[in-house]
């Protein structure tokens, strides 16, 4: 039955759709035929020609109505109607190209910035590791110490215990960033890679493109398994895609490693921000990490690791299990693990890569782009109000000829969908263009491939589609709402609008402009606050000199130096450097302040200081050479510097900072007292001023220094205080290094100011992005203001002309228009300031030494807003001042 029905009806449906015009014409022919026959009959009855026609029409009931009824009887043709609506909509858009282009641009901007920021959040915070399986179940794993905020690395023996005892995890794996010099042919360069556990590639579900991953056991032993997996990029760029690469030998840090595999394209490892180029098993740790062989040392915490949960396990459950294991370890190994816990973080909170540093920036950006979207929408709303007024006549005609409200609504929604759809498509293109923008904003470092991509996946698509849908509703409903109020007769009679509706519309438009000004004012204030904060950070004293001090290091580890050889080399080099012209002093240190790297940390004990039970005080320290404090310009408050005499044969000594002195010795002078470092007692010989160690924004914290020669590190950083330029000193140093050993290479040399700038780059990114968006918001608001004012001027031409006729000068009119604009702005600024005082507090994490309600920032925002208003109102005002009263009043 059903099938047979289709047999008849399907061809009809297709015909309706494909040859709608012909079907319509046939319908007309059919009805006309009937009409003519009826007229004929009427004429034969003796009616006049005119009467015959009218009577026939009356009997039929009106051609148009019957045609419509017949069309309805043929069934509502959803697809056909939609296609018709689409065609009509596209024609409408072409009819008013200015409106269409402006609307689509506004939406593109609004949707684009949202899609871009969301794609960054997706690519950096939520799914940061391309090609890695099941990232939604991946957690970062690190250690915490009681009484110390923040998380850090764990030790290899602890990791093995966690791995053995973990029941809720699919896998636990290590991925610790490291670097290596890579010499291929005569070209040497530094590149980044990861030290990983043997289960790494299995755990993340990445299968090498060529060769194999690591086998169980390859992460056991000391220098036992010199094998390496290289990245696709490295394989292509440095090995020219050699298909026979597997099995070849490559020197990494001067140790020959066998290349056993190549990872697939678009896999960049598991470190947010930087692309990894090689992976070595943990057994090769000593070759890449300073500080010796650490796989059997439970006190050496250097591992960054991840846990992948079994399906259905929550983070809280996994955390409970980790805490339970950590408590057992604490009991079993009190000397190293007292007060230590294991902590799990969501990927976007990972403490040991760039996710954490980008998080506050992206949080702020998420809020800012919503503002921009709202401002763009207000602009679109304004455009729609004007346009719906212009289309009032069209709507009235359509309603008069029998279009139902539902049909009109569908038409308007279709038009809205076209606009929003084009806007969303444009937005995704914008997001696609911007996907690498974050990486570009961060300062480049030599040897590191920045990789902070936006990820345009279905989440981003969904968000854009959602915004698009909302925009469609707004775009369709605003004019539909306006059309509902159409007074048919009135609207058809003349194009004159009643005074009251015009006023209501003006109110709505002014309201939208006030809203825009309000939002852009908040963004401006926020941008200025961030700018102030950045300036404060960049000019804040880190506690050491930044201007005339440069920092570099020599690739001793890479060149395969052992400790005795390194000691001789380092002694030799520093003497030569001190003799260079323009060098005031020079000193080694394991780490330069604010560098990416982890300070050594040790449990300490102090005579006369009794820590609370259950707590093992641990303090970070740095290994520094003679003249370190003089070179970096860190003041010594009392006591003396380390000298060449404080070597491995002399008694152990240490210098503590001011905060450490206050915490552990109180009012007593610590000089000459004992401090236990790594289980050995050292004598305190000096107190140094506090300075910044890991971040400009950190609070003062306990810290101490030990002589480099008493806790030796190969290839430390070399700090030089000099009056020479960076280029000169770099060249001179390279010459000295090469004259000792021609095989050695210098790492990048930078000033400590550059070091500070790099460490504050997230703030720079935030400032740049917020400023750009605040600028866009301001532009959009200015466009809105301009539109409203020019429209108001056009509408009140008569009033203006009358004023002029009564003696107002052109400057008076200009002033009148601008003061109207300023009144709108004042309203917006007032609201913006009120809301801004509450909202700028959200900037807290990014602000440094700047109050979120800083009056100067709000003042600056006000000034910019005022100037913009005057600029936006000037042209409408100028036009008003050129009114020709005679002509306007006559018309």
């Amino acid at each position: 039955m059903r099938f047979e029905q289709w047999l008849y009806t399907l061809p009809l449906r297709w015909r309706d759709r494909l040859r709608g015009k012909q079907v319509d014409q046939e319908l007309g022919d059919e009805l006309r035929d009937h009409l003519e026959q009826q007229i004929q009959v009427n004429l034969e009855k003796g009616m006049s020609k005119e009467d015959a026609r009218r009577s026939a029409l009356l009997a039929l009931g009106g051609m148009t109505q019957i045609e419509q009824q017949c069309r309805d009887a043929r069934g509502h043709n959803l697809i056909g109607n939609t296609i018709q609506d689409l065609r009509y909509g596209v024609r409408q858009l072409f009819r008013s190209p200015g409106f269409s282009v402006l609307t689509i641009l506004c939406l593109t901007l609004g949707i684009g910035v949202n899609a871009a920021v969301f794609s960054w959040a997706e690519g950096i915070l939520f799914r940061p590791y391309p090609a890695v399986a099941h990232q939604e179940r991946l957690l970062a794993l690190g250690g915490t110490a009681r009484g110390v905020s923040g998380g850090g690395p764990i030790s290899w023996p602890d990791f093995l215990d966690l791995q053995r005892n973990c029941t809720l995890c699919d896998a636990l794996f290590v991925s610790k960033i490291t670097g290596s010099t890579l010499s291929i042919g005569d070209h040497a360069e530094v590149t980044t890679g990861s030290i990983v556990s043997a289960n790494y590639f299995d755990a993340i579900g990445v299968r090498p493109l060529l060769g194999r991953g690591f086998e169980p056991g390859e992460d056991v032993g000391n220098d036992a398994h010199p094998v390496v997996v290289i990245s696709y990029d490295l394989w292509q760029k440095r090995f020219r895609g050699d298909p026979q690469i597997v099995g070849k030998v490559q020197r990494l840090n001067n140790i020959p490693h066998t290349i056993i595999g190549v990872t697939p394209e678009h896999f960049y490892g598991t470190f947010v921000g930087w692309a990894m180029n090689f992976w070595v098993p943990a057994s090769m740790e000593e070759n890449f990490e300073s500080g010796g062989y650490k796989l059997e040392d439970r006190g050496s915490r250097w591992i960054e690791s991840y846990e992948r949960l079994k399906p259905g396990i929550t983070r809280a459950q996994a955390q409970n299990e980790m805490t339970a294991i950590a408590t057992r370890l604490e009991a079993d190994y009190p000397a190293t693990n007292r007060g230590r816990n294991i902590q799990l973080w969501a990927l976007w909170q990972t403490p040991f890569n760039n996710a954490g540093t980008m998080l506050p920036t992206l949080e702020i950006m998420a809020a800012v782009v919503v503002f921009v979207l709202l401002i763009a929408c207000a602009n679109v709303g304004n455009l729609l109000l004007v346009r719906s007024f212009a289309r009032r006549h069209e709507m009235s005609v359509r309603m008069a000829t029998g279009a139902t409200g539902g049909r009109l609504l569908r038409q308007l929604l279709t038009e809205g969908m076209i606009l929003a759809g084009l806007g969303a498509a444009g937005g995704l293109i914008v997001a696609y263009w911007c996907r690498h923008a974050l990486g570009l904003l961060l300062p480049a470092r030599s040897g590191i491939a920045m990789y902070l991509p936006g990820e345009i996946d279905w989440h981003v698509m969904l968000l854009s589609a959602g915004i698009c849908l909302m925009a469609t509703l707004v775009l369709g409903l605003v004019p539909a709402f306006q059309a509902r109020n159409i007074d048919l007769a009135g609207a058809l009679k003349a194009d004159s609008s009643s005074v009251t509706t015009a006023r209501r519309r003006a109110w709505m438009r002014s309201g939208l402009v006030v809203f825009q000004v309000c939002l852009s004012f908040i963004l401006l204030a926020g941008a200025v606050l961030l700018l102030e904060s950045l300036q404060k950070i960049r000019t804040a004293s880190p506690g050491f000199s930044t201007n005339r001090v440069v920092e570099t290091s020599v690739s001793l580890v890479a060149a395969g130096y052992d400790d005795p050889r390194a000691k001789i080399f380092q002694d030799d080099l520093i003497e030569r450097v001190r003799a260079l012209p323009g060098v005031e002093s020079a000193a080694y240190a394991r780490l330069t302040p604010l560098d990416y790297g982890t300070y050594s940390s040790t449990p300490i004990a102090v005579d006369g200081y009794h820590p609370p039970l259950e707590e093992q005080p641990a303090v970070d320290y740095n290994q520094v050479g003679p003249a370190y404090f003089a070179t970096l310009g860190i003041p010594l408050l009392s006591g003396r510097e380390f000298t060449r005499a404080d070597d491995e044969n002399a008694s152990l000594v240490a210098i503590v900072n001011r905060t450490m002195k206050a915490r552990y010795w109180g009012d007593h002078d610590p000089i000459g007292r004992r401090l236990q470092v790594k289980g050995k007692w050292a004598r305190v010989i000096g107190v140094a001023a506090d300075s910044k160690y890991e971040s400009i924004r950190e609070d003062p914290k306990p810290f101490f220094y030990v002589p480099l020669l008493q806790d030796f590190v190969r290839g430390p950083a070399l700090n030089i205080r000099t009056t020479e330029s960076l280029q000169n000193i770099s060249a001179a140093l390279l010459h000295e290094v090469r004259s000792i050993d021609g095989n050695l290479a210098l790492y990048e040399m930078i000033t400590l100011q550059e070091q500070v700038d790099r460490s504050t780059s997230p703030q720079l990114v935030a400032v740049t992005l917020v400023s750009i968006l605040a600028g866009l918001a301001l532009l959009l608001a200015a466009v809105g203001l301009y539109g409203v004012m020019s429209y108001a001027v056009a509408q009140s031409m008569r009033e203006l002309a009358l004023r002029m006729a009564l003696g107002a000068g052109s400057t008076d009119l200009l002033r009148l228009v601008i003061s109207r604009g300023l009144r709108l702005t004042a309203g917006g600024v007032f609201l913006g300031a009120a809301a801004g005082l509450a909202l700028t507090r959200l900037l807290g994490k990014l602000l440094y030494n700047v109050s979120p309600s800083d009056p100067r920032a709000f003042g600056a925002a006000l000034a910019v807003m005022t100037i913009t208003t005057v600029a936006a109102c000037f042209f409408p005002g100028w036009r008003a001042s050129r009114t020709d009263p005679a002509r306007v009043l006559r018309d």
Binding site: T9, L31, Q37, G61, D72
Partner: protein, 111 residues
């Protein structure tokens, strides 16, 4: 626009089917035929005829063809389909059942 009541609407469909069942007819002829047999009683206007025709066509009960209609003009001729014939049979049967039931009730009241 006079809209026929539900009863008449259903009846109208049946009448149209019945009319075109005999031979293919164009709209004008159907309207004349309808008037002949029923206009005084049912009051079917020409206005409701054409939407009904298009509805029946869309349901597959009648099918249309453009043919010459005498005095040199082409007209749309409707004829019954197999589906339509079956429909006409059911509707006629229904009608007979209902009308006999109703007349039964009416007679009951008279008695």
């Amino acid at each position: 626009m006079s809209k026929p009541s539900d009863l008449v609407q259903g009846t109208l469909d049946m009448l149209i089917l019945k009319i075109v069942a005999l031979e293919a007819q164009n709209g004008w002829a159907i309207s004349q035929r309808l008037k002949q047999i029923s206009s005084d009683v049912l009051g079917v206007s020409d206005g409701s005829l054409y939407p009904a025709l298009h509805k029946l066509e869309r349901r597959g009960w009648i099918t249309a063809q453009w043919k010459s209609s005498g005095n040199n003009r082409r007209a749309k001729f409707y004829s019954l389909t197999r589906l339509g014939r079956r429909q006409l049979e059911t509707e006629t049967a229904n009608w007979n059942r209902i009308s006999s039931a109703i007349s039964g009730i009416v007679k009951l009241k008279e008695a």
